[in-house]
Amino acid sequence: MRIAVASGKGGTGKTTVAANLAVTLARHGQTVAYVDCDVEAPNGHLFLKPIPVGEVGVSRLVPRVNPGQCLRCGACARFCRFNAIVCLTDRTLVYDELCHSCGGCVRVCPSEALTEVPHPMGVVKTGVAGAVRCVSGTLDVGESTSPPVIRAAKQAAPPASWVILDAPPGTACPMVETVRDCDYVLLVTEPTPFGLHDLRLAAEVMRTLHLNFGVVVNRADPGAPETRAWCEQGRVPILAEIPDSAAIARAYAQGRLIVEALPGLEPLFDQLIARLGAEVHREIREEGGVLA
């Protein structure tokens, strides 16, 4: 089961939900992998505190020009849609930071003057936090494209009955890259105008990608009438409501998990798991029904 935890707005509690969910699943005896796909601001390790196991670099391919073979014909520069190659009369220049690593320039070069070399762009770390296997992707500072690091982190996830993917905020390509092949997506929101506005955008992405999703309302006191009304109207299930509490904020500020710092709130995540399981199985049944 692959579950992504996402949100339109940042800072709504994705990492809180994902990390507590992972630990609670492990307590239920499930095999769990937690994958931090928020590679621009990966924070799950600050709460799960995994013991490091391994680390692999992530790189992308960029072209290098062999000046002896280059005819300065400009075919590569004309082909590149990202303006990453400039062909001057005496040399051909490559701008690695603009390159999308499509490999097109190498294909169009008539004199085989281009070869591809790896350009480092991030790292994927693996570790264990109790029974939770952890994977965390980190984008190098100054690199602009996170999807390749997200892909690498997802591929590094060990086999587990539950894979929890902690998604980056927003609705653009890094979020899409994280959620695109998941069985279910939890959208974490907060009952503020910003929270609801961005929840709607995130829900639109889910519908565009034909993904099943439900909502977790964080800081849910003193009630979230607008969020609830919107969910009811769109028949979006609310799977959990996490109360707005100073104790939770304090635990977070100390880098502690809710289920560890506040055992009284453990049933909240037990219930989330039960509802999540029911939702995923209902979707499978219904889709099976349609096919039959």
Partner: protein
């Protein structure tokens, strides 16, 4: 061009989301003298929610190209899928009489590089402009606002951010305004880099939590990488005063200037619910702190502007 030289571009960033960028930007918009406002968080644009913008201009945004496979010409040879580096092509298109299934492009994954088009022996692929979003110029009571909305799931947010900034610069040049105030996106990737490059200063809004600290470090490194000096403000500093102090000291060691701290205040959410900048409500400790923050920024920034006068 002395006017262009005197332009001050201030971008509000955070690394971690939800630390209060938009709240602070909206209040600075209310406090600043004749700013041009720009919402560079184009995939979750929230500044318009508290500035009651009246749209004056609306344009569509073509983010780039997307490959399109004409299923009637596709022989299902699979070359396009083989050469695509973005896993954007799948064998799930409609049949065409010759083959039961054809290849189809997943437009969410396609980056429009054109390699599949180049390699397709049957000339079944062409690149088409993608309608990726829209952008607006609106009037607000504090000045013109350039904002945008990327269609959900689209890429190319960096390009849309560049466009928003360029429009803001044009408005500044045309109206003689000298401050562009930008609300930035979370993270440190493509849209953040597009918001940051060439800016005069970045204002990093952070919070005293392990995540806030971790992401501040990366944000300051990004600022150094692109040569943009940083101002730092710890929001909700009273959540963990010791950590806030530690973060401020650390920021100074990294070459940043601490320009203020804001206490936790329920009025912040109340203002957001009313759709207004916090300082308009003019009460509570956070509003007072943001007013102080602006005084400090003005003192620091006026030096920079006056140099070019």
């Amino acid at each position: 061009m002395p006017e262009a030289a005197a332009l001050f571009e201030l971008v509000v960033l955070s690394g971690k989301g939800g630390t209060g960028k938009t709240c602070v930007t909206a209040s600075l918009a209310a406090l600043a003298h004749e700013p041009v406002l720009a919402d560079c968080d184009v995939d979750a644009s929230n500044l318009p929610l508290v500035l009651n913008p009246q749209p004056q201009r609306r344009e569509s945004f073509t983010g780039g190209l997307r490959a399109h496979i004409q299923s009637d010409r596709c022989s299902a040879c699979g070359k396009c899928q083989e050469v695509c580096r973005f896993a954007a092509i799948a064998l799930d298109g409609p049949g065409n009489g010759c083959v039961p299934r054809t290849y189809r492009v997943d437009t969410a994954a396609c980056e429009g590089c054109g390699v599949c088009e180049y390699c397709c022996a049957g000339h079944a692929i062409d690149l088409r402009p993608a309608d990726s979003g829209e952008w607006f110029v609106s009037d607000t009571r504090y000045g013109p606002l350039v904002h945008a909305g990327l269609h959900p799931g689209e890429g190319n947010s960096g390009k849309l951010v560049m466009l928003v900034r360029e429009q803001a610069r044009q408005i500044a040049a045309a109206t003689g305004r000298r401050l562009i105030l930008m609300d930035g996106p979370p993270g440190i990737g493509c849209p953040v880099i597009a918001s940051l490059t060439g800016a005069t200063r970045m204002l990093v809004i952070t919070e005293p939590t392990p995540s806030g600290e971790h992401d501040l470090e990366r944000m300051l490194a990004l600022g150094r990488h692109f040569g943009v000096p940083a101002w730092v403000c710890v929001n909700k500093h009273d959540l963990n005063p010791a950590m806030a102090t530690h973060m401020e000291r650390h920021a100074v060691e990294r070459g940043a200037t601490v320009v203020g701290r804001i206490p936790y205040d329920p009025e912040v959410t109340a203002a957001q619910r009313q759709g207004r900048p916090l300082v308009e409500m003019n009460r509570g400790p956070a509003a007072t702190a943001i007013a102080g923050l602006w005084q400090r920024i003005r003192a620091e920034g006026s030096v920079l502007i006056n140099v070019n006068d």
